[in-house]
């Protein structure tokens, strides 16, 4: 122990802790905590990016009116059947959560989470402008709707594909390891590479998909600029991109299932698809919930796919929340309104993060 001799400083535990913590806490305070509160503060102001850049006093305190201008309108009323599509799913979700809880197929937290989400899905779309009324910001709620639609398509797509692949690729053989690598590979690419590849894949003139359709005699689809297909295109690109992590999480979940269960199942003739349905699936409940929540958090923040592949179009059908925030702030220079939307985003993401945390805790116990 001679090499320690010369460096013996009589630091107390507190002093050592202070020295070790100081670098992180400084950076954390300056670049995360302070900006967070500053964001809330900006959202309470009429704050034009250009004007304030030239004259710091060009902002004015407006209270909550940015939130009102973004989320509210004149003569807004509520009806239980104003937006049947969403509200139907809301009611359906409410029913499902009660049913799942009653039959013991889902834990308390999961059921409660589904219940709250469904309730919001039932209540929120019920608001609509009454006679002579209008939304102050016509684009905000449709943008939120698009984001939810994107999440609603991408999350089940990724989850189901990843789960099936994980079930098929679980095992120690070399061939399976290679296949796992192939399916995971696209996950490490950046969003701009992914959009580059898929923009050209989908291109009606040069695209591989168009080339294949032409080969079999069909006429090419203008994927990225046709209203019905644009959202589908960015969802497909997203599933291709983000399958890997979900697959790995499912593989870990499957490995936690006791092998005895499968051996017992095999005695009852439950192998292959049957074993998957009766043994794997019920034992993966926790993993499924975890993967779904993670994917919701991840995909709610979608930006690059919409920004680069479709420019939010056609006709705003792929405009998503983060892109709207970005444009409001940096194209329209309206930092106040953009910050109000960012706070809205934070509230939603924060809700899901808490859910994720609670679920993680449950798992530890």
């Amino acid at each position: 122990m001679t090499r320690y001799q010369g460096t013996r400083l009589a630091l107390t535990q507190r002093q050592a802790a202070a020295i070790l913590l100081l670098p992180f806490l400084t950076v954390y305070a300056v670049f995360l905590v302070y900006p967070f509160f500053k964001g809330v503060w900006i959202s309470l102001h009429d704050w034009n990016l250009m004007a304030v850049a030239f004259n710091p006093d060009a902002k004015s305190y407006v209270g909550l009116s940015n939130y009102e201008r973004v989320m509210w309108g004149s003569n807004i009323t509520w009806g239980a059947w104003a937006s049947p599509g969403y509200q139907f799913f809301g009611l359906l979700g409410l029913g499902t959560s009660v049913l799942l809880y009653r039959t013991g197929r889902a834990g308390k937290v999961t059921a409660l989470a589904i219940g709250i989400a469904s309730l919001l899905l039932f209540v929120l779309p019920g608001f609509h402008p009454g006679e002579d009324g209008r939304w102050y910001d016509r684009r905000f709620w449709p943008t939120v709707g698009n984001t939810i639609l994107f999440v609603g398509l991408a999350v089940p797509g990724v989850t189901i594909t990843a789960m099936l692949l994980a079930a098929a690729l679980d095992g120690e053989t070399r061939a399976k390891a290679v296949l796992r690598t192939l399916f995971f590979l696209s996950q490490v690419l950046s969003v701009t590479v992914v959009t580059l590849i898929w923009q050209i894949m989908f291109s009606p003139r040069q695209g591989l998909i168009a080339n294949v359709t032409e080969l079999v005699g069909g006429s090419p689809i203008v994927w990225l600029t046709a209203e019905g297909f644009a959202m589908a295109s960015i969802v497909i690109a997203t599933i291709w991109w983000s399958l890997g992590i979900a697959m790995i999480l499912f593989l870990a979940g499957i490995q936690d299932i006791s092998k005895d269960l499968y051996e017992a199942g095999a005695l009852d003739n439950a192998t292959g698809a049957k074993a998957f349905w009766y043994i794997t699936l019920p034992n993966l409940k926790r993993t499924i919930t975890l993967v779904v929540v993670l994917q919701i958090i991840l995909h709610f923040q979608v930006f690059g796919q919409s920004h680069l592949m479709t420019n939010g179009g056609p006709n705003d059908t792929t405009q998503v929340l983060v892109r709207y925030i970005y444009q409001t702030a940096f194209r329209d220079s309206e930092l106040g309104r953009a910050s109000a939307m960012a706070v809205f985003l934070f509230v939603i993401m924060g809700g899901f993060s808490i859910l994720q945390f609670v679920l993680g805790r449950e798992k530890d116990q």
Partner: protein, 277 residues
């Protein structure tokens, strides 16, 4: 190996190949001449085989254009961010896991709350702060915001918590100071966790798009990820499809190589980042 097993592998090879097709296509297009690509992208086997073959796109990329500079920027930002994150995360993680001091629990809770704040919720205020300080269009502006994200602290904290206490206690009895224990005893033990965190951070830095888009307005400070976005919207006219695809390949090369070499760490890093960040 049963017959069913081989059928399974065979059956899965087809979707695996389809999964790989977009990537193969990008690589293949990057090796075909631009004037050919302007006419057709499916000259040989739907364009999946680069014939006629040419390395011209890559040569042009390194002769003209800004791709090498962007690549260098990405390298500086990613390595810088990785080192900074490792430095603050190992120190803070050790202190929070092993040392006793006042206000420890509130500090941990405060840091945990930081995990809830998404990048998109702070990028506007960060933009105004960095504008006030004249920090935009610099490497440190691209590095610092991510260093404040507490995920690394939690990864390291969990790791240090799992190390048996007697190693530390033995050193304490010998009269070794806390900082020396951290440096000489704990850090060497923490190498696997640091490796995971380093890869997680590097991948994030290399692939980040939103913050560089906001902060780096001058093309000289673009990262390769951002630069690629700037040339892909008008790929056909300006640079030629082949060259844009070659840029895409160059932009992906470091992360793909990293993945193929350190596959296990990358998978672990990305799942850790996914589950906790």
């Amino acid at each position: 190996m049963t017959r069913g097993y081989y059928w399974l592998i065979f059956g899965l090879s087809i979707p695996a190949f389809i999964w790989l097709v977009p990537t193969i296509w990008m690589v293949s297009l990057s090796f075909q001449p631009n004037d050919l690509l302007a006419r057709t992208t499916s000259s040989t086997a739907l364009g999946l085989i680069p014939f006629p073959f040419t390395p011209d796109n890559y040569i042009a990329l390194f002769r003209f254009g800004q791709v090498p500079m962007w690549f260098l920027n990405s390298l500086i930002v990613s390595v810088g961010m990785t080192l900074a994150v490792l430095a603050v995360s190992t120190t803070a993680g050790y202190a929070l896991a092993r040392l006793d001091f006042p206000f420890k629990t509130p500090i941990i809770i405060l840091c945990l709350m930081g995990l809830m704040v998404p990048e998109q919720a702070v990028f506007i205020p960060l933009y105004t702060m960095f504008s006030d300080w004249g920090w935009h269009n610099s490497h440190h502006a691209l590095i610092l915001p991510r260093v404040a994200v507490p995920i690394g602290v939690f990864l390291m904290m969990q790791f240090f918590k799992a190390i048996p206490k007697d190693i530390e206690e033995a050193a304490r009895i010998d009269g070794v100071g806390w900082l020396q224990i951290f440096w000489y005893v704990m850090l060497p033990l923490a190498r696997p966790a640091m490796m995971t965190l380093a890869i997680l951070t590097f991948l994030y830095a290399w692939n980040d798009y939103l913050w560089p888009l906001v902060s780096a307005q001058q093309r000289e400070y673009f990262t390769i990820t951002l630069g690629l976005a700037s040339i892909q919207s008008n790929f056909a006219q300006a640079e030629g499809l082949g060259r844009v695809m070659a840029s895409g390949v160059i932009a992906s090369l470091p992360v793909v190589v990293l993945f193929l070499i350190f596959q296990r760490y990358v998978v672990r890093a990305m799942t850790a980042g996914g589950t906790k960040g």
